[in-house]
């Protein structure tokens, strides 16, 4: 066997967190006599529109996407993350994750350290939170700024002060003041609603799927968009990275959560990616679209760190990163993510890349530039290879075309992908997320629960 062979990495932290109780009788005993709390969405601090639902974090923690995180964070852990992007157990992690409630709810509940709280979702018992500490967020605006950085404190990559136009900043600014910190355990496993059910591959199942398919090396493609042909070429070409042969598999992992108006609906995103392999543009044997539940924070380099953690936990050996990775607006330098993964960002606690610091990651970054159409080559061409003037592809430009009712040419969007968009357009009477979609989605969520 070649010494250059790359093996699948261990989960971040050394083991997969799995905190799901599947024995209903045991679950009933666990919650007997415990106080209950109905999970509520986090509402925008000014408009009252839902911006986050903590249930998605509970799912991603308990199924191991965020290993080694096991629950809502204590104050000392949040402070360490904001300073060094590390958990108290030393492993790197980008964001504070907390279970926050209002002062009124806290008073009503009357719980404290050592208590077990049953968390209901859609009126059914869903999870428990074993409270280890109760602490208070004094200044959510300060927390929001510290979470994403400022031009003064993080001059390497932060270009503009964050504000209420940034959806991730709004999430932290909108948190309730009381944090109940402690480990979560799911005690009533939710059922994914279609079409998400067939894309649900939590880390253990995903690693087993890789084994079934004989995938040793797998490159991840992060997405929150329906794919255009530029994305398809990015996937196909990034997959040539590997070890002694190209990557065996391409994992598409779509982040599913609260949507911004103007985004495509999650249903169209997952089925759009599936259409790429059903249409044969990438063989289904080599391509696996999946989901992860998370309300995007749009933290560019910080989000890329979370993506690295999620995909390493899912078993990927490589992760492609592009320009403006998981970004919105011009708050960060457009190459911040690639700066993090090639040089590090000292002010965020990374004097070296996340793969080169103690308790860091093992997943290999594949920093990519762009594919665009070259009228001279008459094909999709890589920006660093093709010497001609090219026509850039842009998801936003395509959205405008779709909205005007113009079917994009097949050279920039596959007709099968467009069909997936139109299928959900007919279902929702709208091609993109609008207020109605966002409100309904946050009512229905991606899961259903049975009685316990």
């Amino acid at each position: 066997m070649s010494s250059l062979i790359i093996e699948r990495p261990l989960p971040h932290g050394g083991r997969l967190v799995e905190r799901v109780v599947r024995d209903k009788e045991a679950a009933k005993k666990m919650i007997k006599g415990c106080p209950t709390y109905d999970i509520k969405p986090t509402l925008h601090y000014e408009t009252g529109v839902p911006v986050r639902n903590v249930y998605r974090e509970i799912m991603s923690i308990c199924y191991g996407f965020f290993s080694p995180v096991e629950g809502s964070m204590k104050q000392a852990e949040v402070e360490r993350i904001l300073k060094e992007r590390r958990l108290l157990n030393e492993w790197i992690f980008p964001y504070p994750l907390v279970f926050d409630i209002s002062k009124e709810d806290y008073k009503k509940l009357g719980v404290g350290s050592g208590d077990r709280l049953v968390l209901n979702l859609k009126g059914k018992p869903f999870a428990i939170l074993d409270i280890e500490e109760v602490w208070e967020i004094d200044n959510p605006e300060e927390l929001a700024h510290k979470t994403f950085g400022t031009p003064e404190d993080n001059p390497e990559v932060v270009r503009e002060r964050f504000n209420k136009k940034h959806p991730g900043w709004v999430i932290y600014r909108s948190l309730n003041p009381i944090v109940l910190a402690g480990k979560y355990t799911i005690i009533n496993e939710p059922k994914m609603r279609p079409p998400f059910d067939r894309f649900w591959f939590p880390p253990r199942k995903c690693r087993e799927e890789f084994d079934k398919r004989g995938w040793r090396t797998v490159i991840n493609h992060q997405t929150r968009n329906v794919p255009h042909v530029g994305h398809e070429f990015l996937m196909k070409n990034a997959a040539y990275t590997g070890d002694v042969e190209p990557c065996h598999g391409i994992l598409v992992n779509a982040i599913i959560g609260v949507k911004r108006r103007g985004d495509y609906p999650d249903e169209a995103i997952v089925e759009g990616h599936e259409a790429v392999n059903l249409g044969g543009y990438i063989k289904p044997e080599r391509h696996l679209p999946t989901i992860c539940l998370w309300d995007m924070r749009y933290g560019n380099p910080l989000e890329s760190l979370l993506h690295g953690i999620i995909r390493q936990n899912m078993g990927c050996t490589h992760h492609m990163f592009g320009r403006d990775h998981a970004a919105v607006g011009e708050y960060y330098d457009k190459w911040s993510t690639q700066i993090l993964w090639t040089k590090g960002i000292p002010s965020f606690g990374f004097p070296k890349p996340p793969t080169d610091v103690p308790y860091g990651l093992s997943i290999r970054p594949q920093n990519m530039r762009e594919f665009s159409y070259c009228p001279t080559c008459k094909e999709m061409a890589y920006s660093e290879t093709c010497g001609h003037k090219r026509e850039k592809l842009s998801g936003s430009f395509l959205r405008g075309m779709v909205a005007e009712g113009v079917q994009p040419p097949a050279i920039i969007m596959r007709p099968e992908v467009y069909k997936a968009i139109v299928k959900w357009w007919k279902h929702f009477n709208y091609p993109f997320c609008n207020e109605k979609y966002v409100i309904n989605k946050e009512k229905e969520l991606e899961v259903d629960l049975e009685d316990l």
Binding site: S396, F397, M401, G405, Y418, Y430, P431, E435
Partner: protein, 116 residues
Amino acid sequence: MAYFMVVLLDDNRFAKIKGTELEEKVQYMFGGELRCLNVEVSEEMKDKILQEFDTARIDSRGAITDVPVAFLRELFNQVAEKKSLGSEVIEAVLAKSSEIKELAAKESEYLPAPEI
């Protein structure tokens, strides 16, 4: 960065500018699969658009996108009327912001899906 907005030209729209000076400025994109015109947008106008229309974004090419469909329709109307791709076109569109927003409010609820 120079900013611009793209006006897509289907056959119907193309007929309205055919024979004018604009015809020479038509660009063919993606191997001739798409016809379009690029309208220039100043820094000041870019800021106004982003302020007035909260879905608007700037893409990697410097193009302003994700404005309401009513905005795009009015943009074409102004281009065709003024026979220009200059900044006065955007100024004229922004002068009708209230009207566009009214139309946009309806189109944020419903857009007819194409039959394919």
